[in-house]
Symmetry: D2
Subunit: 198 residues, 4 copies
């Protein structure tokens, strides 16, 4: 049996860097891995982009209607026919955007297909509510490991404040990609609560 | 700033023992703590009962309609008037049965009142879905720490299988207290999936 | 392959309680475990005594000259002939007093005999130096898990201050069992450094 | 009070990447950090080099005779006079090569100067013995966090096998920098024990 790992953190905690390093570690030892992410993440198209300056294309995208285990089975068969070697690990980025069913399928890949699944993602949205994928990962992952980053005050950041035109807002859609108008700041609970109207 | 800790585990992983040991550690160093649990836990009435044979009465019960922070403020004022010392820690058992709002209030006790809150509870129900209190704790606790127990197969148990008259069931109410008819068994994901109809 | 776990903490952090709870968890699921501790721990004779009030006799004592793996092999053969079942776990208390060689043998039990070994022990002595057993466990255990307790100031205690006739001392023998004259207090690094002459 | 963190791993587990990401996270939030490493690490001269392809010069080198806290005080005064801001974090690479005294000084930086210290390093040498710096960090760091990498067999690697001309050796000097003749391979305990003559 292998395990499903949820490595979660606030925004900008270095999740993509950690994922790319884990992939590198496997490959350096002559092992093959598959990288994937939900198609709903519009940020980097097909790439996993680390703010440290490293990036890499995923092997496949996961659309909301896909069965993740079926997709993995297909993709790993293809990889194995090319490399002559079993896939050693499935690495998933932006897993907060997986559906709940896809997280269950990721658990099946780990438990039934015996391939470890490393799922990286954001824990909660700007209202401190879990995203669908994160909620399910927090329920069923074998291992919950926090990737830490820091708040402006120097404490550990846990929450993601949303700013619209530079002002913190506490209502709105769950997903709003950061850009000109919308930005995010990772905050510790004390700074988050201080910003929030009572 | 203090922290909100969620120490979660499957059923029968020793959560109450760990809570009573933590309380003991504080008191042995001459510090005062408060123990509480949701009133909806019918099992031990006002007691926190460890299967190892230790038990202790809570200082207060939390009803679904209570504001946990207000309740804590009252109770700690009372304790401080008796002991002449500030309350050093709030220990909560069976926190899966807290409401989501009460978990937010527990975070406020930690962050705004600067009293550490140790919340012990079950992660998920017999269908592997988080209870309301656990769901919110998984979202906002500063620290997620697993209390481990083992499955019949020797692996780490994570899920709680429900048996009715000795047979595993996968539908029903979220809460059904164990007794003559209903029992529970902590299972690893592999054993849980093996029991579950496809 | 099974694992060697080192669950360490300052004095009075609840290590024996945690060990007895782990044993209980195994047995409640119909599995057999063995409990042992070094013979050099004079405190409880053949008993593992929790300050919460629970105690239990060990299955065997480990003398400094013993090969721990050989001893385990013997004892588990005996247990298996009585119970008809394999030993599911070896639980070791006061592992700071094991020799370095015995810790290597504990790793062999986990890795070669495929029986998980849970080793509970104190991390460092009153001069913040590891005991022989702890030093080796910190080097080779698969998993390092801290059992927390608190300092008089409310922070996490990590070090063990020694008092002789109520005064902190910073030189002397590594081992001095607490009694009338010698006592110990678990301290956080800040309080420990504050007590220590510059 | 701040904390001393020891983030340890086998060779090639991504320690330098993790350090550079942590520095990046601080700086992205407008905070200043200092990077340092022991002068005895000949590998990258004054650079911290990640195998992912990122590298960066340290702010200062630590020679064996240096007092790390004094050095930090000097360097942070200099940084603060330039930036007008306090140093938010001290990041140390290759900490296995610090002296024991320097690790004590790192603890003082965290506890007395209230600046968090992130120490990255290798846990043990090719004979599974801790390096001087690691030994002391395992004893006194507030937090022990493992950076994982994998063995050729797919399990977690913990030990570092040394090869001379492609053959595993189990005796020799503690430090031998990898190059043409000497190479290293991170191994899990089972694979390490299998290579080692009985």
């Amino acid at each position: 049996m292998s395990k499903l790992y949820f490595r979660f953190g606030a925004m900008n905690s270095g999740k993509s860097t950690a994922l790319l390093q884990a992939a590198f570690n496997y490959e350096e030892r002559g092992q093959y891995v598959l990288l994937a992410k939900p198609a709903v993440d519009y940020k980097g198209d097909r790439n996993i982009v680390s703010r440290l300056g490293v990036s890499r294309e995923v092997d496949f995208l996961i659309r909301p209607e896909d069965n993740l285990r079926d997709l993995f089975t297909e993709q790993s068969a293809e990889s194995e026919s090319k490399t002559g070697q079993q896939v050693a690990c499935l690495l998933l980025d932006e897993t907060q955007f997986l559906t709940e069913a896809q997280v269950d399928q990721a658990l099946e890949v780990a438990v039934l297909d015996r391939v470890p699944v490393l799922a990286y993602g954001i824990r909660t949205d700007f209202q401190t509510k879990a995203f669908p994928g994160s909620r399910r990962l927090l329920e069923i992952a074998h291992s919950l490991e926090e990737l830490k980053t820091i708040c402006r005050c120097g404490k550990k950041a846990m929450f993601n404040g949303r700013l619209v035109n530079g002002k913190f807002v506490f209502s709105g859609e769950q997903v709003a990609i950061d850009g000109d108008k919308v930005t995010y700041e990772s905050l510790c609970p004390a700074c988050y609560l201080a910003k929030k109207p009572a």
